[in-house]
């Protein structure tokens, strides 16, 4: 699991460091998934029954990481959507999706 997280982070970092805007957005999205898996792993991957009172079991799974991930997914989804719209607007205004073209701005 942690190796998987490492691979996702590596891919995401590579994509973010590339020049094309779309690749950068994909990179952030992949890192986002890596983070979610990391939270799941860090919460402890243990076997147990759902944490409901009345089940006479000794081991319960920890529901908290899943709640955190659910929140993180929603937020990640919203920001990625916003980022895509922003980059599309920038693409139509600037006329390029190359990060080099987005450097600074001319003096007014």
């Amino acid at each position: 699991m942690s190796i998987m997280v490492g691979i996702l982070f590596a891919i995401g970092t590579y994509l973010i460091l590339s020049k094309t805007l779309l690749r950068i957005i994909l990179g952030t999205s992949i890192i986002g998934h890596g983070v979610n898996l990391l939270i799941l792993t860090m919460g402890g991957l243990k076997k147990g029954v759902p944490p409901i009172l009345g089940l006479n079991e000794q081991y319960f799974t920890d529901p908290l990481p899943q709640a955190l991930i659910l929140t993180a997914i929603v937020i990640n989804f919203a920001t990625t959507a916003l980022f895509l719209v922003l980059s599309y607007r920038a693409y139509s205004v600037v006329g390029s999706d190359d990060i080099e073209q987005l450097r600074g701005f001319d003096d007014e």
Binding site: T79, L86, V93, D107, E108
Partner: protein, 496 residues
């Protein structure tokens, strides 16, 4: 003590913002309801301050789930003072926006977005749960992403992409840090975290996690990792830039202060020294930027970086005097940065250019604006009797007290650089031969001056009447230096 009022500063702007979204075309309603919201938050904050000073830290368990299981809101003096200042600053910036932001931006939900931003900011101040802190950060950031690109000019779009990217990455790092912290301690409640960390002792692993948090908050607060800031803060219109400069970086500072005074306070030799080094670096680099540019917007955005460095220098000293100075300086800085941005923005609005060499002699046409800018400039650099002075004295004393002489020296030296950079604007723009006439100006000051007057009056009042808020500041400092007060209030009887 349970107190339902704490939810107010978070939920009032959300509700009013949602109501405003429905009435898209009624701009009068937008303006006055959003002002009303900030006034209401301000009154609530005053009420909370009163209750805290008599009844101690106020706590609210959301949904009745007691700490450490549910999400807790905790209002201590430090947080509520910041909420109060936020309300005042937002009030002035929204007032300024009435006659400067333009009908098109107003129609595209400028006021609701500002209110959502405030909800996120207040939420970050008042929350007692580290994951909830992340959520409130995101509420604030998503609103700020939209605000920074609202209007869609070329420069705004270019800068907003960088701003969004850097903040997304820092949010991911935040989640990574939360995940590690949860793995080590098994809790997310700040007070409970504090107990667990104190019990296990802050070993190397926890220190590394704390440094990861430090990186995250440095990105948000523009402490050393500020390279995104000058560009993105000079892109949006004045009112938005002023809100950003006054509030957003301060939320990062608040989060850092909260975490390193409540949870990770066991190893100040490593973590606080690190904060001090970052503070020194950002003061030096910010000063270089402020001195080098001749663009008004660039100079004042670099001044934001310097003041963040100075505030955290006070925190790094981790002494009673230093932290007292930090609280004073933080409150002063929120007000005076808004003032500086609004008055400088008015200059740009009048002249149509941000280059200080292209403008001169403005004081003959606009004496009030000129002198208010002068007061703002003096206050930023900490000249008595204005509000920056008292914070600067305490921070410097605290830093020397903790024997960080290099940090104090850099702080004092950069104060001179700050003075030089803002005086450079003042002398170039307001003095000299008048090269504009009333006819060739690009805009008028109509409706723009009252909020600036209000903020100027506030910085003078805060300087002369620092004694008045002294008891509250002392309470705040007391809370920051004694984590047990916070822990006892939040975890009253549950975990002991």
């Amino acid at each position: 003590m349970m107190n339902n009022l704490i939810i107010g500063p978070i939920i009032i702007p959300v509700i009013i913002g949602l109501v405003l979204v429905v009435f898209k075309n009624n701009l009068g309603l937008h303006r006055y309801l959003s002002l009303f919201a900030t006034v209401l938050i301000g009154l609530l904050a005053v009420l909370l301050l009163k209750q805290i000073s008599t009844g101690g830290i106020q706590v609210l368990y959301l949904g009745g789930w007691e700490a450490p299981f549910g999400i807790t809101l905790a209002a201590d003096t430090f947080a509520v003072l910041l909420v109060l200042t936020t309300a005042i600053v937002t009030f002035c910036c929204l007032w300024y926006a009435f006659s400067s932001i333009g009908a098109e931006r107003e129609q595209h939900y400028f006021y609701p977005l500002c209110l959502f931003l405030i909800a996120g900011v207040n939420g970050s101040f008042l929350t007692g749960d580290i994951f909830n802190l992340f959520v409130c950060f995101e509420v604030m950031l998503v609103a700020s992403y939209v605000l920074i690109s609202l209007g869609g000019t070329r420069m705004q779009l270019i800068e907003s992409i960088k701003y969004v990217l850097i903040n997304m990455i820092s949010s991911f790092l935040f989640l990574v840090a939360v995940a590690y912290l949860y793995a080590i301690t098994g809790t997310l409640n700040l007070a409970h975290l504090s107990i667990r960390v104190a019990q296990s002792g802050q070993d190397g692993l926890l220190t590394v996690v704390s440094l990861l948090f430090l990186i995250v908050f440095s990105l948000k607060a523009a402490l050393f990792l500020f390279y995104w800031l000058p560009g993105s803060y000079s892109a949006p219109p004045t009112a938005i830039a002023a809100i950003f400069a006054a509030l957003l970086t301060k939320v990062g500072v608040y989060a850092m202060v909260r975490l390193f005074s409540l949870v990770f306070y066991h190893d100040p030799g490593t973590t606080h020294l690190f904060i001090g080094a970052l503070a020194a670096a950002s003061m030096v680099l910010g000063a270089l930027g402020a001195v080098a540019y001749d663009d008004i917007k660039k100079i004042i955005t670099y001044n934001v970086v310097i003041s963040i460095g100075f505030v955290l220098a006070g925190f790094a000293s981790f002494s009673l005097v230093g932290i007292r100075g930090m609280v004073y300086y933080l409150l002063h800085d929120m007000i005076v940065k808004a003032l500086l941005f609004l008055s400088a923005g008015t200059v740009i609005h009048l002249t149509g250019t941000a280059k200080i060499r292209k403008v001169s002699g403005l004081i003959r046409l606009h004496p009030q604006l000129g002198w208010m800018f002068f007061i703002a400039a003096l206050s930023v650099s900490g000249i008595p009797p204005l509000s920056g002075f008292i914070g600067k004295v305490f921070v410097t004393a605290g830093v020397f007290h903790s024997a960080y002489y290099w940090l104090g020296g850099i702080g004092l030296f950069t104060s001179l650089m700050v003075l030089y950079s803002v005086m450079k604007i003042f002398m170039n723009v307001f003095w000299g031969h008048t090269n504009l006439t009333a006819e060739t100006e690009k805009g008028t000051t109509q409706g723009l001056l009252p909020p600036i007057v209000a903020l100027t009056a506030l910085t003078i009042a805060l300087g002369l009447g620092a004694e008045g808020i002294h008891s509250f500041v002392d309470l705040a400092v007391d809370g920051l230096l004694n984590p047990n007060l916070y822990i006892d209030a939040v975890l009253a009887q549950n975990v002991k």
